[in-house]
């Protein structure tokens, strides 16, 4: 009996979580399209998410591109398909690694800081204080982060794509001895707009999810420092899992025939 009760409690807790998250997301999105918006805060969040994530995302991208070129070269050399290296690098970067790696890095950097900041505001009554000052906490805290995530992640991923391809070029030309012109040609020749666009759509979804999980977990955190710590962990873990899951779903939507 006790065991059944335990299962029931876990399932009910999980469903409650899903329900709260759905209502939270719905409320947040509905506030995104109703004035007043706070342009000043949106810009600050965009700088935080976009500009300050550039070094991390850039480093991730360049080494991913480099290792991709190296790995695929040694692999393809076994059946004399070395010329496909440039294609593999550009397709992997734009379709998968750019959005996913940038998403995961930003989830760790931004998702965590959102959850910690909003969570601290919750436990120190700052969110209640917002309400008493005629300011809707959703509009003031959640909407700028959601919009900034949604807009900045695609831009970050575009930069990551370019840097990643450049990393592949560096290894291809200076280590593996490809002719620079040939490498660039085969990079561009087989690339289709949909490859890049699907990656950017993924990035927008990931950006939204990262901000949503950061805000949601922070908003409902309770119990002081420990609660804020738990909220931060949950924000990063749940955002990462959602990124990987939705990545598959979006890929399926775009490319499954």
């Amino acid at each position: 009996m006790n065991f059944l009760a335990l299962i029931g409690r876990v399932v009910l807790g999980f469903l409650g979580h899903i329900g709260r998250l759905t209502i939270f997301a719905g409320t947040a999105v509905s506030h995104c399209v109703r004035p007043p918006l706070y342009p000043r805060l949106i810009v600050r969040q965009m700088i935080d998410i976009g500009y300050y994530s550039l070094p991390v995302v850039g480093l991730t991208a360049i080494f991913s591109g480099m290792v991709l070129a190296l790995q695929s070269y040694t692999g393809f050399a076994r059946f004399s398909a070395e010329s496909a290296v440039a294609n593999v690098v550009v397709l992997s970067m734009t379709r998968e690694l750019g959005p996913v790696l940038a998403g995961l890095m930003v989830a760790g950097r931004i998702g965590a800081s959102m959850a910690a900041e909003i969570g601290t505001m919750r436990v120190t009554e700052q969110i209640d204080a917002l309400t008493t000052l005629s300011t809707n906490p959703f509009k003031y805290l959640v909407v700028p982060r959601l919009l900034a995530g949604l807009l900045m992640l695609p831009l970050l991923v575009l930069v990551a794509d370019i840097i990643g391809v450049f990393g592949g070029y560096l290894v291809g030309v200076y280590k593996l001895g490809f002719n620079p012109g040939v490498y660039i040609n085969s990079t561009v020749d087989f690339l289709e707009p949909l490859d890049v666009i699907s990656g950017l759509v993924k990035a927008a979804v990931f950006g939204f999810l990262i901000a949503l999980m950061g805000c949601y977990n922070g908003y409902y955190s309770k119990g002081g420092a420990q609660g804020v710590g738990a909220a931060t962990t949950n924000a990063v873990v749940s955002a990462s899992i959602l990124i990987l899951t939705s990545n598959y779903i979006i890929t399926e939507l775009f490319f499954a025939t």
Binding site: A129, T132, L133
Partner: protein, 258 residues
Amino acid sequence: MAAAPKIHLKDVRKAFGDKQVLNGIDLDIAPAESVVVIGGSGTGKSVLIKCILGILTADSGVIEVDGRDVTHIPAGSRDPAINRKFGMLFQSAALFDSLPVWENVAFGLIQGERMSRKEAKHKAIETLAKVGLAPSVGDLSPAELSGGMQKRVGLARAIAGDPEIVFFDEPTTGLDPIMADVINDLIIACVKDKGITALSITHDMHSARKIGDRIAMIHEGRLIWVGNAKDIDRAGNPYVEQFVNGRAEGPIKMQLRR
């Protein structure tokens, strides 16, 4: 009471899960009156204020502000005119640590009333002066202030929007006796003397006597005694007597494990 009450509470109830925190609160607060609610920790004092403000929603009962029923409306859905009547000083001051002091004070003016930043800063400096803080404090960040100064900034933020009703959540808790008395004097100067209605919660009896016209004692979710502040020592209620004199022995039993 001749005048219509500013705040009217009738049979207000609120439960969290199985725990009935407010168990039928009846209280009328007249315009310009200062009521202090006293009671032990965890007896529902903060919940009462949050229900009136709309941060929490009461389960049942009636909460009226200036005759308008706001019981079941959360703050975000209320008429902005009602929200603007309120000011609140939080126990921990709850200053926004991402903003300098002056923007904290001016926050309600800039965000709520859409005042220009320049004008709002001017008003913020003026309000800071009312609570005895120099204009230079305005450019500091809240983390650089002492507890007493944070409370004063919190008070300035609460009164900056010229509210009609101000709530004080344990205004003197955590301060030394002298700073506590400074805060009491400021509350009297900024609130009572301006005809603002005030509802405070505290367990500091010195503060309660000083800032309250009337005192209400809350115990197990009910108001067990309401009377004039000067009658608190002649309450004839063993619960009030125990609380006022701070005795461990009496009808109020602390939940202690022995």
